[in-house]
Symmetry: C2
Subunit: 133 residues, 2 copies
């Protein structure tokens, strides 16, 4: 019995004959792990925020990417967007129940990253030192 070419598919819960390009796991993951999404999801996990509040909360993000990331998160169903027709307008963003559900395992990974960053950094430094030595 040779190595099974469908192993990767099985790992990702992919039905037979479907490409890895459309892999469910990857599709979900790529939505969560754009440059700013994890940070924004964590912020919205505390309470809903308005657009301008989020800008001040995460001053390093460009306006363009804030808009786009929020749109992507909205599209995937993690975030709702409510426009209050005031003047000037005010827009509120918050987590949907799907977003709250997803944030649970995501937070565990974030916690792991926080707790084990020193080990990762040490491994990196050792690897790089070895390459230069």
């Amino acid at each position: 019995m040779e190595a099974n070419n469908n192993f990767a598919r099985q790992l990702q819960g992919l039905p037979e004959g479907q490409s890895l390009e459309n892999c469910p796991v990857r599709q979900v993951m790529q939505g969560i792990f754009s440059k700013w999404s994890t940070l924004l999801l964590q912020a919205l996990g505390e309470r809903p925020y308005r657009f301008g509040e989020l800008r001040r909360l995460v001053p390093d993000i460009s306006q363009r990417m804030l808009t786009q990331t929020l749109r992507d998160l909205e599209r995937d169903g993690y975030v709702y967007r409510t426009v209050h027709p005031t003047k000037p307008p005010s827009v509120e963003y918050g987590l949907t129940s799907l977003g709250q559900s997803m944030l649970v395992p995501l937070k565990e990974l974030v916690d792991w990253a926080t707790s084990n960053f020193s080990d990762v950094r040490a491994a990196r430094d050792a690897y790089d030192a070895d390459a230069n030595g």
Copy 2:
């Protein structure tokens, strides 16, 4: 009291005065979520594999990216690499204890993605349909 500019830093466990660019959480995350890393980590979570075995396991990956992803995972301390000086050479890859530790929360996220993909897809379809309507 205006919105606190250091909120994002606090969320990511960043000490005062340190840039988000070097944020521990993001540094760890970006290592885990390159295009192929999650898949490879899951594979190596089963048992160690040789380079060629991994290629056959994940036929869609290019040789270049397989090498590079494994190197990155090795650099971050998740994966070990053992060269057996046979002829022709054989190289074994496997999870370190750090990698096994990280795979625990990662798997929970993968499981969430698998379980909730239909909801995410439904949200996407609804969003896209609305945009075209």
